[in-house]
C-alpha cells in the first residue's frame, strides 16, 4: 500500500503541489508566448494529473532500494523513468493544447505553446526526480520506524522473559525444602546448619544481584551454581553428584543472567530427585570459533511421576535466548534412555558484566 494514499496524507501531498504548480505556471508564461491565464489553464490540470502520476515513483523506489543496488543502475533507471514520464506528460500537454486551440478564445494556442513545450518537459523531469527523492526519504523513514518497533518488541520480550525467569527463580519448593534441611541440622550439627543458612543467604543475594544485570560473566553464573549445588547437596547427600568440565576460556564469556541456573535446577528436580539412588549432573562449557557451547546433562527416570511445572524452565530459557540473540542462539533437548541432555549454543561475547 502506498504510504501517501490515505485521506490525510493525500490532502497534504496535493497541497504541496500548489506552489510547484504556481512555479510551473510562471515558467511557462515567462517567455511571453503564453499569457499568464493561458499558462495556468494548461498547467493546472496537467499538474493535478502529474501529482498522481508521480506517486508511481513509490513503486520504482521500492523495487530499487538505495542500499543493495549499484549507483549506476539506480541513476540509470530513474533517469530513464523520469524522461519517459515527463515526455508522456508533455504529450498530455499537447493534447490539452490541441483541445483548447479548437475553441475560438484560444486561436493558435498550439503555435504559441510549441516553444514552451521543452520547458514543460524539463519541469516534468525535475518534478518527477523530486518525487523519487521524496519517496526514498519516506521509505527510509518507514524502515527506521519499523526497525525501532522491532527493537522495542525484542526489548519487551526480553524484559518479560527476564521477569518471569526471576519470578520462577526463587522456587518455593527449593526454599521450603532447604529450610526443612536447616531445621533438621540444627539438632544434628548446628555448625552445618549455620553453614547452610549462609549458603542459602549467599544464593539468594547472588540471585537478586545477578537478576538486576542484563549480562553477566559465565564465571559469575558458575559461582551461583556452586552455591545452589552446595545447598542441594545438603538435601540430597550422596544421591547428588556433580561433574564440571569448564574450559578456562569460556569463563569470560557474557550471557544473560540466571540462564543456566534453571537448567541445573531442572536437572536436580526432574533428574536426581526422580532416582532413588540419585545420579550425576554433568556441566560442560567450551568456547570455540566465536561460539559458546554449554551442555547440561543428567540421568533421569523417564517413567518418573510427573512433577509440577515441568518444562516451564526450559521454555523460559529458550524464550530468553530468542529474545536476546534471535536466531543466533539455539537450545536443543536430547533425551536418550536415561540420559537427559540440554545443549545451548550462543555467540561468545566478551566484556564486563553490566
Amino acid at each position: 500500500m502506498h504510504p501517501l494514499l490515505t485521506r490525510n496524507r493525500l490532502g497534504l501531498y496535493l497541497l504541496g503541489w500548489i506552489p510547484l504548480a504556481a512555479i510551473v505556471v510562471l515558467l511557462m508564461s515567462a517567455g511571453g508566448n503564453l499569457t499568464w491565464l493561458e499558462s495556468a489553464l494548461i498547467v493546472v490540470p496537467l499538474c493535478v494529473l502529474y501529482a498522481f502520476i508521480c506517486l508511481s515513483a513509490w513503486y520504482t523506489a521500492k523495487s530499487l532500494p538505495i542500499r543493495g543496488e549499484s549507483a549506476l543502475r539506480l541513476i540509470g533507471v530513474h533517469t530513464l523513468a523520469a524522461a519517459l514520464v515527463s515526455y508522456f506528460w508533455m504529450g498530455l500537454g499537447w493534447v490539452l493544447v490541441a483541445f483548447l486551440g479548437k475553441t475560438s478564445a484560444f486561436q493558435g494556442l498550439d503555435r504559441r505553446f510549441a516553444p514552451q513545450a521543452p520547458i514543460l518537459f524539463g519541469a516534468g523531469y525535475l518534478l518527477y526526480s523530486l518525487a523519487v527523492a521524496s519517496h526514498y526519504v519516506i521509505l527510509s523513514l518507514e524502515a527506521s520506524r519499523q526497525a525501532e518497533a522491532r527493537m522495542m518488541e525484542v526489548n519487551i520480550l526480553a524484559r518479560d522473559a527476564e521477569l518471569k525467569a526471576l519470578k520462577a527463580q526463587i522456587n518455593p519448593h527449593f526454599l521450603f525444602n532447604s529450610l526443612n534441611s536447616i531445621s533438621a541440622l540444627t539438632s544434628i550439627d548446628s555448625s552445618r546448619a549455620r553453614e547452610m543458612c549462609v549458603l542459602l543467604g549467599d544464593f539468594l543475594r547472588l540471585t537478586l544481584g545477578l537478576g538486576e544485570k542484563t549480562a553477566v560473566r559465565f564465571s559469575e553464573e558458575l559461582d551461583l551454581l556452586e552455591k545452589y549445588m552446595a545447598i542441594e547437596k545438603v538435601r540430597f547427600g550422596d544421591r547428588l553428584r556433580m561433574q564440571e568440565t569448564i574450559q578456562e576460556d569460556s569463563k569470560t564469556c557474557l550471557l544473560p543472567p540466571l540462564l543456566l541456573q534453571p537448567l541445573v535446577e531442572n536437572a536436580v528436580k526432574h533428574g536426581i530427585a526422580s532416582l532413588p539412588e540419585g545420579g550425576e549432573i554433568r556441566l560442560a562449557a567450551e568456547r570455540q570459533n566465536g561460539r559458546l557451547a554449554i551442555v547440561v546433562e543428567n540421568s533421569w527416570d523417564p517413567e518418573a511421576p510427573p512433577r509440577r511445572s515441568g518444562g516451564r524452565g526450559l521454555e523460559n530459557v529458550q524464550r530468553r535466548l530468542e529474545a536476546r540473540y534471535g536466531k543466533d542462539a539455539s537450545l536443543r533437548v536430547n533425551t536418550e534412555g536415561e540420559l537427559f541432555q540440554v545443549s545451548l549454543s550462543l555467540p561468545a561475547e566478551s566484556g564486563e558484566s553490566a
Partner: protein, 254 residues
C-alpha cells in the same frame, strides 16, 4: 527399633530426604507412645515396610522418586491414618483441606506436628478418603494422568498412559490392557475415565474405554451397535452413545 509394651503406636516415616526424615523422628521422640517401625526412602520401600510392620500411622512425603505419596496411598489402601508431608504444592494442599486429610508443611513446626499426631490417633479405625479421589483433587486443572500404578500381589507395575490399549470394567475393578497383558486395578471405570485425557481416550461403551491411537476401524455389529477393531485384532463393543463420542473426537482430529 524398640518394642516396649507402652509403645502402642507403630509409625512409618517415608521421605526420600534423610534430613527430612530426621526432623520427624526427632519430633516423635516426645511422643513416647509412638515407635518408629521403619524409615523408607521411597515408595517401594514403603510398600514393603507396610506389609512387614503393619504400621498404624504413616508420615508420607508427596514428592518422591518412582512412586509419589498418592501412589503409595493408592497401593496400601486406606485403613491406616496417613499424615502427608509436602514442601509446597498448592493443589495438593487444597486437596488435603477438601478431604480433611492431615498434612504437614516443610519446614515442619513442632506445634503443628503434635496437633496432627493427636488428630491421627483419634482417627484410628476411620478410613482415609479414596486415594484416587485425593490424587485427582490434587492434580492441577487440565492435567491428566501420565501413568497408572497397579499392584499384582507384591509386584508394582507402572503403566504409562500412552501404553494403555483399553480398559474394561470388571465389577469393582478395571482391567487395564497394555501390550498384550491385562492388569487388574481396584477402581471404577468412571474414576479412571476422569483421569484420562479426553483427547486420547474415549468411553466407547458402559464398560470400555479405548485409546484412540489403537483403533484401526469401526465395523457395524447388530442393529444399534458397532465394534471397534484395534491394531492387535481385539474387538471391543461400541454402544450408540459411545459411537457418537468416538465420531465427534475423530471429526475433531481431522
Amino acid at each position: 527399633m524398640s518394642h516396649s509394651p507402652d509403645k502402642r503406636w507403630k509409625a512409618l516415616i517415608v521421605d526420600d530426604e534423610e534430613l527430612a526424615r530426621h526432623v520427624i523422628r526427632e519430633f516423635l521422640e516426645s511422643h513416647p507412645e509412638i515407635a518408629v517401625a521403619a524409615e523408607c526412602a521411597n515408595g517401594m520401600e514403603a510398600l514393603k515396610a507396610v506389609a512387614e510392620h503393619k504400621p498404624n500411622l504413616i508420615f508420607l512425603d508427596v514428592q518422591m522418586p518412582k512412586l509419589t505419596g498418592f501412589d503409595v496411598l493408592e497401593l496400601i489402601g486406606t485403613d491406616v491414618p496417613v499424615i502427608f508431608v509436602t514442601a509446597y504444592d498448592q493443589y495438593a494442599m487444597r486437596a488435603f483441606d477438601v478431604h480433611a486429610v492431615d498434612y504437614l508443611l516443610k519446614p515442619i513446626g513442632r506445634e503443628r506436628f503434635d496437633a496432627a499426631v493427636e488428630r491421627a490417633k483419634g482417627r484410628l479405625g476411620e478410613k482415609m478418603p479414596s486415594a484416587q479421589e485425593l490424587a485427582a483433587a490434587a492434580r492441577p486443572p487440565q492435567q491428566f494422568l501420565e501413568r497408572l500404578v497397579v499392584k499384582d500381589g507384591t509386584r508394582v507395575t507402572l503403566i504409562p498412559v500412552a501404553k494403555l490399549d483399553y480398559a474394561e470394567a470388571q465389577d469393582d475393578y478395571v482391567a487395564l490392557a497394555t501390550q498384550g497383558k491385562k492388569h487388574l486395578k481396584q477402581q471404577t471405570i468412571a474414576g479412571l475415565e476422569a483421569g484420562l485425557n479426553p483427547d486420547n481416550f474415549v468411553r466407547i461403551h458402559r464398560s470400555y474405554i479405548v485409546n484412540l491411537e489403537r483403533v484401526v476401524r469401526i465395523e457395524p455389529y447388530g442393529k444399534d451397535s458397532r465394534l471397534a477393531i484395534l491394531g492387535d485384532g481385539t474387538r471391543l463393543p461400541v454402544s450408540r452413545a459411545g459411537y457418537a463420542r468416538l465420531k465427534a473426537l475423530l471429526d475433531e482430529r481431522k
